[in-house]
Amino acid sequence: MQAGDDKVVFEGEDGNAGYASPALDLIATAFLLALSVTVLVASLRLPVPGGLTTAPGLLPFLTALSLAGMAVLLGISAIMRQREGTPMWEAQGRDIREDGRSIIIVVAVAIYIAGLQALAFQYYFNIGSIPMVLSAFEPVTIVALSAIIHIFWRGPLWITALVSTGWTLTLSLVFQKVFNIPLPGGF
């Protein structure tokens, strides 16, 4: 969004949306075409218990067909922009190191979720007369959070560990005791 003296340019909910480099749009086109063809074939293979008008694959088929059409238009627009002089791979002010850090966080979150799934356990105990549950959520979250904060903040380790532990225990208590919501990492 920009405000100028004479003109205000509006953008929608997603300020980032719009033209990408022709190469990226062509990659998107190829993916969308492949997806459309897969859905078209899969929807044709669906059983038709009633007539064609109530066929379960009717709207998926129409959606995939129109998606394929839109993908072709996207591809054509990318090729036309490239022919008009737009470089095939626009840098768009991207920071390669930032993209690398994005991949690190994606992998870290995947490992965190896999950890919750693979190490699931549940242990019941009492603090005074209050029944408590300890599951894989607490240890796995503390370790995962500490690692992620350490990678992206690089502050003193004791603060990292303290923040991770404090936040995990707060979430655990609030969700389990106040809202009665079981946490992942248990059974």
Binding site: M1, A17, P49, T54, E84, S102, A110, L183, P184
Partner: protein
């Protein structure tokens, strides 16, 4: 109605509303955390609440987070939410002149007025729309759903509506997974029982708006200058009275924009900001962009009035006005509340409850905002490297809590990855959510209406005038989108020529 009011003023519901408002304000104030993200993530928290508490809490979050964006916009020149950009342009200039507190005070008052105008218009217009909407049958509902997705795509993707429509269509494909509603045939499940129940749209919502935002913003570096003092916050009454006409005009505008699917609070605030500038007196117009209180009032009134506006199609038609309203719809669905033309028949009294809850949330926002400015300033000093990772377990719990399924957590992760790729490939994400939510409505109603039309002539179908009008509207949206894209293409080409490429 009295019973509803009595219920709304029960201590527990007041606490829930206040908690929602406070969480919303803090969330909205933190740079990078949007209203939709707040709404999406906190659905998980609302899952453990009763229906009434959940509605009060979510409406509180919605009201609070829309305002919250103004705090960081004025004080640290970073809009907490996208709709706070005009507030940032004006408010930060005022803050640099030492009037940050007063600018925030005006923003709070304007937000309150905007919220009130939005609620009043919601209460006034909803009976009219409901009376009209009761005539809608399957054919009309199908076209309404298609309109919702198309308009959202058109509004969200700026100069390239095609990308918005593709995003909406992808959302529809996601929603087709699972047992379909008429014959209970499993679609695109590939033999996986976990997919029989479909893909949880709460998980998709959290992934697209929560996790994707973390993937996108956590790796970027932040340098934030924190102000030492905020100054006097409560603005003089004379100043408030001076801008009342602008506030009411922007409030009406914000409500109308909010009622258009896909047109979020940011479109409302910028449109009101621009119209305000055109209609301002010359001496005030000269201040526009350099720290104008009137400009600030226009933007803040419009984005808060947008809340009431977005509730209009959400409650009356079941078509969310924006992605945040879609999250609210998801929270309502979790509590077995189905909104739409028959809301008054299916859930008598609920609509009055929602009006009341919105009013209370708006008043609480006004009071809590003054109290929370100080703590928010302290929170700004928290490094992004600490703040953003803390949201990851909230995303995980939010996705897990709906069906207590780790599979949904993986869905959320997949949606987050997709959201990150969407940003990389410059596709909007809001239409995906509209697609996911509206596809089942479109699917069921299309097949029902085609079944009814099986032996009928084309003339009979065309005589269903509301459906025909809606069909023409769909064509209009598509043609407008194509024309807009062609105009943008021409501008891009002429810019390239000017650069001598």
């Amino acid at each position: 109605m009295l019973e509803t009011m009595y219920l709304l003023f029960s201590p527990w519901l007041l606490i829930m509303t206040l908690s929602g408002v406070c969480l919303g304000i803090i969330w909205g104030a933190l740079p990078g955390l949007s209203t939709t993200m707040a709404m999406g993530l906190l659905i998980g928290l609302s899952a453990g609440m009763s229906q009434d508490a959940s509605i009060c809490f979510m409406l509180g979050v919605y009201t609070g987070s829309v305002f919250g964006g103004a705090i960081s916009a004025v004080l640290i020149n970073i809009p907490g939410t996208p709709d706070a950009v005009p507030t940032m342009i004006e408010g930060h200039q005022l803050a640099q002149r030492g009037e940050g507190g007063q600018a925030l005070g005006m923003a709070i008052a304007a937000s309150f007025v905007g919220g009130t105008v939005g609620i009043i218009l919601l209460i006034t217009l909803i009976p009219v729309i409901l009376t009209f909407a009761l005539n809608f049958r399957s054919w009309e509902m199908f076209w309404l759903a298609v309109i919702g997705i198309l308009v959202s795509g058109s509004m969200a993707a700026g100069t390239m509506p095609l990308k918005g429509w593709i995003a909406g269509w992808l959302g529809m494909l996601v929603a087709f997974v699972g047992l379909e509603s008429i014959h209970a045939v499993p679609r695109f499940t590939f033999g996986s029982f976990a997919l029989f129940d479909g893909i949880s749209y709460v998980a998709v919502l959290i992934g697209l708006f929560g996790l994707a935002e973390i993937f996108r913003t956590l790796p970027s570096k932040d340098v934030v200058a924190i102000p030492d003092t905020v100054g006097r916050i409560i603005p003089p009454f004379r100043m408030l009275a001076k801008f009342t006409p602008s506030a009411i005009r922007s409030g009406v505008l914000g409500t109308v924009i909010g009622a258009i699917p896909g047109a979020g609070a940011n479109v409302a605030s910028f449109l009101a900001y621009d119209i305000g500038r055109r209609r301002a007196k010359p001496e005030e117009k000269a201040k526009w962009g350099k720290g104008s209180y009137e400009a600030l009032v226009c933007a803040e009134t419009a984005n808060n009035a947008n809340i009431g506006g977005s509730m209009l199609p959400t409650l009356a038609l079941g078509i969310p006005g924006n992605a945040a309203a879609a999250a609210l719809l998801a929270a309502l669905t979790l509590k077995n509340v189905s909104v739409g033309p028959t809301i008054e028949i299916d859930h008598p009294g609920l609509i009055y409850f929602i009006y009341g809850a919105l009013f209370i949330a708006n008043v609480m926002m006004y009071l809590a905002a003054f109290a929370l400015i100080g703590p928010c300033v302290k929170l700004f000093s928290l490094p992004r490297g600490i703040l953003m990772p803390l949201i990851i377990p909230v995303c995980v719990i939010g996705a897990y809590s709906v069906k207590l399924s780790i599979f949904d957590v993986w869905i959320m992760f997949g949606a987050g990855l997709a959201g990150w790729l969407f940003a990389l490939f410059k596709f909007p994400v809001a239409p995906v959510v509209l697609g996911v939510i509206l596809a089942p409505l479109a699917d069921e109603n299309l097949r029902r209406s085609l079944f009814v039309f099986e032996d009928k002539t084309w003339g009979f179908i065309a005589s269903q005038w509301i459906g025909t009008l809606l069909m023409l509207f769909v064509l209009l949206v598509v043609v407008e989108g194509i024309l807009r894209a062609m105009r943008a293409d021409r501008e891009t080409s002429s810019e390239a020529l000017e650069k001598g490429v």
